[in-house]
Point group: C2
Chain length 306, copies 2
């Protein structure tokens, strides 16, 4: 209902009276008034005059009422320990596919391999729950899917040359602007659920952290629309899910890759591999040609572009 | 300490005095007495005379003090909802590799794909926590490893011709005596933990459930040692873990298979496959030759031996 009220206020040139709103939405003027109070408590500035209500400004928050298509599947938190952990708790209580946990900041955001993910206000942090009917062997493709969804969104909305570093970082001008962490719960032959975590360095500055990382604001020189980026990435992910077992996804990833066809170094659990990244296989593993011409395959590891 | 006292009592011909026990174990007579009281509360019948203590009988329970090698990693419950769920809760609280949750009965024991697993008293129900450093693609091998461990144990301890039905049932005389459920938590390229659940129809009768299932007591005509079977399967699992990525495991599975080289029917998520099971691939998928000679691969599904 709040989403509908916001939509009305946004689409009208002047004030809209409580009576008109109530009639259009099929609820009483008092109910409208209660929702207006509620919206104001959430940070919306809504003017009221004898002629009606008027939306003066909206908070820069990823609130459910901004994304009516997600509806009750969106769980918004101002601050949370980790969207990944909260998503998993929701799954244990029966959360369905398409559930999204989004937070304005995380106290203990997680990255791959238990690493910390810096999550101050101004970033975009969310976890999407999917339940694809695939074998665990297809799992690495979820990383590819997520990084493709983010890169495509940033290219389209910001006009930047977003590229992918294997396995799942999104780079702009060679600097990391987004990390992805996908986890799953599975039986041995079938995935039960997947949680895809996305952390985008959006509207805070991290220039002081060196040349390997950047925020979208650092790179663009101005604030970006967190709402538009969030909305687009979630939609891309939900749409691309059907491509998980198809070759198309691999082609998209390859087309956006910053890792292929360059000299790289990979630290894997089994040791270091140095050479030229020549391809990825159907499971998302990176194929590297070493100096002596032999081919090596890396399933997991940290990749460095020297 | 209780394990040590039990061991002393079991290995002595007659009574053992509290003084001797205390000296050997480095604790006071009063402490010995407290442990004896505790053991009696757990169901051990321990006689006491002026000459000392004597173990008269032990309860048929899979208590921690019976398995000193597992030590504090063994969590025993008389009744529990599901050893799988409890194991996962323990993992969330930091449980390490080798943690075992065992229950005398389960209220809502789980099988594959959310099915129920009948878990009355007299069966053997446990979940073992492993943290192998493998990619999720290797996961199906955990099923193979677990079924091999159970079949080898039953063959050795009971002298039965235990065989394996793909993907992970243990059969004796064509009837299912054990089910295995392995689940994992993983990032896309690396497994974080695995919970291997084993349910063995041991000392209760299920003859009335038809010819597809049986208990060890039904088949042997007498009670079996739940302690010996439990102990052996856990040890086999811990030992075999190092074989997960090796070809040896596949060979062992093939050697024990009741599915290979016979006409079968498989219900998979993608439809039904009928034909002769000719091999398994390195990921544990079953390869079937259909009537027209074409080869099909089944990653997941229910297999029927007509």
């Amino acid at each position: 209902m709040k989403a509908a009220i916001l939509s009305f206020l946004r689409n009208s040139a002047g004030e809209v009276s409580g009576e008109v709103l109530g009639k259009e939405l099929g609820i009483s003027r008092v109910s409208i008034w209660k929702h207006i109070v509620n919206l104001r408590q959430s940070g919306y500035i809504i003017g009221a005059s004898p002629r009606g209500y008027r939306l003066l400004s909206a908070p820069d928050l990823l609130l459910g009422c901004e994304f009516p298509e997600l509806g009750k599947k969106l769980h918004h938190f101002h601050s949370i320990d980790s969207t990944m952990d909260t998503a998993r708790e929701l799954i244990e209580s029966g959360a369905e596919e398409g559930t999204v946990v989004v937070a304005e900041s995380q106290n203990s955001g997680r990255g791959r391999l238990g690493r910390e993910w810096f999550s101050p206000q101004g970033g975009i942090y969310f976890t999407l729950v999917l339940k694809p009917k695939i074998a665990p062997a297809y799992a690495p493709r979820l990383n590819m899917m997520a990084s493709v969804a983010v890169a495509k969104t940033l290219r389209r909305l910001l006009g930047v040359d977003a590229r992918l570093k294997w396995p799942n970082d999104v780079l702009i001008e060679g600097r990391k602007v987004c990390g992805i962490l996908a986890e799953m719960g599975a039986e041995m032959d079938v995935v039960k659920y997947v949680t895809i975590g996305v952390g985008i360095n959006a509207n805070f500055s991290i220039a002081r952290y060196g040349t390997k990382v950047a925020s979208l604001r650092d790179l663009k020189g101005e604030k970006v629309s967190r709402k538009d980026i969030f909305n687009s990435v979630v939609k891309e992910l939900l749409r691309q899910q059907s491509l998980l077992t198809k070759g198309e996804l691999l082609e998209e990833w390859k087309g956006l890759s910053a890792t292929l066809n360059r000299e790289i170094r990979i630290e894997t659990p089994g040791g270091e591999i140095t050479g030229k990244a020549v391809d990825i296989d159907s499971n998302g593993a990176l194929i590297i040609r070493e100096k002596d011409g032999s081919l090596r395959t890396a399933i997991a590891g940290d990749c460095f572009h020297p």
